[in-house]
């Protein structure tokens, strides 16, 4: 009797579970990552009404500071005072984390990099962005509008926020002479065996590809996100070699801060904000390697089923307003999207340093984007490796 009850309970459960699931429905299977995919129909907001009193923000670390990390760094509180939207901020460490967190439906607005934005659009997790509802959109640098990573078929999916490059950070007391290229973490990494770090995400494979683009020209890599099998294998082999010298990988920014402070890591890829948080406790410097770098161009996107859509729009508009955009850009160490922000920075030469108005420079950074089977560099004679392959390879590299 007892046994059969359990059996019944279990089979009932199994049936219920088969009926409900993590995905929103059995919509027709589109080819994953096909170029010119049709985003699912998601209505665009027509007006922005009064704030709902709260907003759930999913952001890169440093994008929504409320003074809890540093009392002088606070642009969330003025937003709350102005709009009455109480901000609840959650930081994420990788784009994959952002995509999976957006799937929970708990967030109203997200700062998505190029390797997350299109995945969110294709997954129907974010809504088309009504640029007329954002007063600051007009001041956004033209070279950030209607780009492949933030729009589909001419429809913007968010508010451009800022852009920048991944940098090489090193401990000036230990790493001598000062490194100028990524070889410090690849071919010369053995000099600092066990004290090298790398970003813990499959997208880091692009950093190796970028290095090979310059050092092994015969591979013919044109775009570090468009790798055919042979190019991909070379990048993976390089990373497996690097793995011998890596002490720790980081995806949580606080982990890299603590590793550099303690000296257990002395050289590796970083964001400027991490260097800013570290430099008081350890002698670190960052360098933009001469051969270029991977980087990000971020967009604030509004969730398709946002619980607080008005506050989400108010936030996306506020954070790209000249004052707030300038504060974020200076704190995080990136070029602000709003060109008027350049007049609001405390360091007047800030925007020149980050080439914020320089479209040609912006074009030189290899922005994170999601690798797909169709080569992003336009080659049609070969198939490129997609993100699934990158993901798999990344775990193998770590071993």
């Amino acid at each position: 009797m007892k046994r059969s009850t359990i059996g019944v309970t279990m089979s009932v459960l199994a049936l219920t579970l088969a009926g409900c699931g993590t995905s929103s429905g059995s919509k027709s299977e589109s080819t994953p990552g096909s170029e010119g995919f049709t985003p699912p129909e998601v209505p665009m907001q027509k007006t922005v009404g009064k704030g709902e009193g709260a907003v759930n923000i999913l952001a890169w670390p440093g994008y929504a500071e409320d003074g809890s990390n540093d009392k002088t760094v606070d642009w969330v509180t003025p937003f709350e005072k102005k709009t009455g939207c109480q901000a609840e901020v959650k930081y994420f460490g990788t784009s994959d984390e952002a995509v999976s967190l957006m799937k929970t439906g708990d967030y109203d607005v997200v700062s998505a990099s190029g390797d997350a934005s299109l995945r969110l659009v294709a997954g129907g997790d974010v809504a088309p962005f009504n640029t007329e509802l954002a007063t600051n959109y007009a001041d956004v640098a033209p070279f950030l509008k209607d780009k492949s990573w933030n729009s589909v078929d001419g429809q913007m999916y968010g508010m451009p926020h800022g852009w920048g490059a991944n940098l090489l950070m090193y401990n000036t007391k230990i790493v001598k002479p000062a490194p100028t290229s990524w070889s410090a973490v690849f071919d010369d990494a053995s000099k600092y065996k066990g004290k090298v770090t790398a970003y813990d995400s499959p997208i880091y494979i692009a950093d190796a590809a970028l290095y090979l683009m310059d050092t092994q020209r015969d591979l013919g890599i044109k775009d570090p996100y468009a790798l055919d099998q042979k190019q991909f294998d070379a990048a993976v082999a390089l990373l497996k070699k690097q793995r011998q010298n890596v002490g720790e990988y980081w995806s949580d920014y606080t982990k890299e801060v603590s590793a550099f402070k303690a000296g257990s890591t002395v050289v590796g890829t970083t964001w400027q904000v991490i260097a800013n948080l570290t430099k008081d406790a350890a002698p670190v410097k960052t360098v933009f390697p001469e051969t270029g770098s991977t980087g990000w161009s971020d967009t604030w996107m509004v969730a398709a089923e946002a619980e607080h859509p008005n506050c989400a729009y108010l936030w996306a508009d506020y954070i790209v307003s000249p004052e707030a955009n300038a504060q974020v850009a200076e704190y995080f160490g990136e070029a602000p999207a709003n060109l008027k922000a350049c007049k609001e920075t405390s360091d007047k030469s800030f925007c020149d340093g980050y080439h914020a108005e320089d479209a040609a420079y912006a074009a030189k950074i290899h922005y994170w984007s999601t690798p797909i089977t169709q080569c992003l560099d336009g080659r049609t004679d070969v198939k490129c490796t997609d993100y699934a392959a990158w993901t798999k390879a990344w775990q193998e590299i770590k071993g």
């Binding site: 088969a18 995905s23 994953p32 303690a262 000296g263 993901t391 775990q395 071993g399």
Partner: protein, 262 residues
Amino acid sequence: MLGAPLVWLGVVYVGSLAALLVTSLWVQDSFTSEVFRTWTLANFRELLSEPLYRTVLLRTLLIAVLVTLVDLALALPIAFFMAKVARPRTARLLVVSCLMPLWASYLVKAYAWRLLVIDNGVLESTFGASPGFGITAVVLTLSYLWLPYMILPIYSGLDRLPDSLLEASEDCGARPWRTFASVVWPSILPSVVAGSIFTFSLTLGDYITIKIVGGASQMLGSLVYDQQSLNLPLAAAIATFSVAVMGIYLLLVRRTGALDQL
């Protein structure tokens, strides 16, 4: 009367396990992260065919065995002292101090170990040497974290063992070692097994310690953690892996009959 608890057990416990198993049979679109409910064994095929997962599974098992052995070696003398040597008052104090670390957050303790084993950290400045980040540090940290779970069952096992048995053994001329091997060990074996289930299963599922003190290496738990945002069904399949390992372990334990005496 049985109904309500049974439903509770079914929904909360068996239900979540069933959800895990069911999810592991689905596939995820790597581009949109959307999970498709098409039934396939592909995830399990990948687990078996990729050498990576075998390596990580073996590494995790090795760590779990080492942690269990270290904890056993530490817990036996402590529990014996608490149960048979110390006065009741001291014994109670010792039990409380064994429980004390459980009141502190797991993360705090793991980060404390990070500061101990880090280069130029406490261990190095005190003893001149430190294992550094890696498997050794993981074994040490996990042994520390799970030690109370080993001490307490052994203590209660020893507590139930009548002193007269030890005296009888001594009267019959057995030396301490013989008494331990023939009298103490057989009677506390169920407690040891209970403790080892804790240390073994907790290690098998741990994903935080390896991230904090493990350097660049991976365990089953951290694979699941990393995969849950990349490929949820595969993460579920890997998790099923450790459930299976634990199931086998429990079956083996049951065969020894140790569970019947608990």
